[in-house]
Amino acid sequence: MTDSVQPSPTGAAVAALRPVRSGAGRTWRSQGPYWAILSPLLIILAMFYFAPILEVLWLSFSDPELGFGNYERIVTSDAVLRVFGTTARICAATTVLAVLIGYLIAYAMMHVGPRHRTWMLAFVLIPFWISVLVRAFAWLVLLRTDGPLNDLLVSLGIVSEPLHLVRNELGVVIGMTHYMIPYAVLPILANLQGIDSRLVLAARGLGASARKSFYRVYLPLSVPGIVGAGILVFIFSLGFFVTPAILGGGKTVMVAEFVSIQIMQIAKWGMGAMIAAVLLATVVLMLVVVGRFINLKEMLGAR
């Protein structure tokens, strides 16, 4: 799905989606032959996917010693708490911004001709093909204190001294929002395309102004797309590694980077595994809670 530099947390998010998606109500017996065909795949999945996840879970309880020692750190360690707090804050900001901008783009795409729509879609999708690493460095160049953006703002007299746009949380949010916008645009666009355009006309014909028609008819009908995009963006954001590492300048540590530090630099495998397990549990819990209110299958296009 995303760049190979940050595969595992995103993979966790996808793994979390899978049980929710496959809850179809047909009987096992009637589908026997199909399961037989699928079984090699299931065995591979079990060996290379579920087994490592179980291994990670086991590590979080067994290293350095058996017990809940690692999990106690959630409440006892300021560092762990800070990392979770930072992650939640950045992900929330990224989600809100990406969904807002994504909605505006999708809305605009719905209201231009088919030719312009194709071009807009191309521009939305082009970033997909550029390495997340390259993009992070590009933002770093653009936003740094003596970068082109600050030069422009200072020379135009809009600000008296350069803004600190990068190597902080703001920089991380900018970089992540940029990365996430396509993930917001696509589900929202799919949803908006499903809205009968005559409904807005009907609202106008019944006496509503353009603004009222939007707020009372169009916007409520696009809520499924907004929520779907929000879930997708938030879950993907939780696992960001490269972008915060580069644009955060080492000061803004998110969960994925924290896990990496625990394992790669100070060899605390149990601690790293615990954080990963908590991340996975959070994602599953979120999907369960949201799934109680909203039809996830429909929202994520799996219907």
Binding site: R204, L206, G207
Partner: protein
């Protein structure tokens, strides 16, 4: 209230180089049930959308009660609209759908609830007020759309093929209900349809459209009995067309030649002169078939090509030497001789039965 008429003055709509509606002028008096009838692509919906304010006319003007409304946005016109497919808000219950126009108009409680109740009673849907539109049948959805469009007592109700999605039997019922509703409310109804029976049975007046042009507008009876063009004669009901050449006048009756036969036609049009080609339309039910020629009038001989028993009447197709195949219907066949293919037969019609039409095909 003649001062609340809706007047269209040379209104037109051009898309690129395609004229969706050619300059059209119409006056729709307050309280009339007016139908725009035409095949798909005839511009009837575009015309309705211009009246509603969703489509800006390329040229021309609209007046309501003498006041120009051409530049008013749809929400300022205070017209009710029932869309094709109803366009009910799927995220609102029936009651909320009906409340929507009242909310827009800032009509407060308890007045709003009272009006909603009345509107739902009017369409007999009180018991379904809290259901979502998708749980209702097509006919019920149609009535919700109607209640929603009527709850704010609009001056004019615009209906775009409102019965298009209903099955035939339900259509008949809803047609009756709509007509009763119109009589009860006295609201102007402007009704777009491609169904000629619907237009004829419901409307006070019908405008027949084709290729963006109103060909004829009049009462259903005028349109059926005195169509001005070949298209109108054919689109509204069935017609047989006879082409002939004027040969002269005999008293007040026109004599023309069609396929070697001299036929007579009652007409007030004195401008027709010998040698001129004319087209006549004659309804199948105005032609009488008999085993023998008896008496005066227009008689043509022919042979039966086909016939079908349709319960209420018999449909007969007769091949004539003079004017080709002629379709006719008759209440029954009174002769003892059986109707069999290729049997010789005589056709007769009154000189007043056909209508001279303009050939616009």
């Amino acid at each position: 209230m003649a001062d609340r008429d809706l007047r269209l003055e040379a209104i037109s709509k051009v898309y690129g180089n395609l004229a969706a509606v050619t300059p059209t002028s119409l006056t729709i008096p307050k309280g009339e049930f007016f139908a725009l009838l035409g095949p798909s692509g005839s511009g009837k919906t575009t015309l309705l959308m211009m009246i509603a304010g969703f489509v800006a006319p390329t040229d021309g003007a609209l007046y309501l009660g003498g006041k120009p409304i051409t530049d008013d946005p749809p929400e300022a016109r205070n017209f009710g609209m029932v869309f094709q497919g109803y366009a009910l808000f799927p995220h609102m219950t029936v009651r909320e759908n009906v409340r929507f126009p009242l909310w827009v108009r800032k009509i407060a409680e308890p007045e709003a609830s009272k009006r909603i109740r009345n509107a739902l009673e009017l369409v007999k849907l009180e018991h379904l007020a809290d259901r979502l539109p998708r749980t209702l049948s097509g006919g019920q959805q149609q009535r919700v759309a109607l209640a929603r469009a009527l709850v704010y007592q609009p001056e004019i109700l615009l209906l775009d093929e409102p019965l298009g999605a209903l099955d035939r039997k339900l259509r008949g019922e809803v047609q009756g209900e709509l007509k009763a509703l119109h009589a009860k409310l006295g609201t102007t109804f402007i009704y777009v349809t491609h169904d000629q029976d619907e237009a004829l049975s419901m409307s006070d007046r019908v405008a027949v459209m084709r290729n963006g042009e109103v060909l004829q507008n009049g009462t259903p009876r005028e349109l059926y009995e005195r169509p001005e063009t070949k298209f109108v004669a054919d689109f509204l009901g069935e017609s047989n067309f006879i082409t002939g050449e004027v040969s002269g006048w005999e008293g007040g009756t026109l004599v023309y030649r069609a396929g070697g036969e001299l036929l007579r036609q009652a007409t007030a049009d004195r401008s027709l002169s010998p040698g001129q080609r004319i087209t006549l339309a004659v309804r199948p039910e105005r032609i009488v078939a008999s085993p023998q020629r008896n008496g005066e009038g227009n008689w043509l001989s022919g042979r039966i090509e086909a016939w079908s028993y349709l319960g209420k009447y018999i449909g007969l197709k007769v091949r004539t030497d003079a004017v080709g195949s002629v379709n006719l219907t008759m209440p029954g066949w009174t002769s003892d001789e059986a109707l069999v293919p290729d049997k010789p037969i005589w056709l007769n019609w009154d000189p007043g039965a056909p209508v001279i039409v303009r050939d616009d095909r």
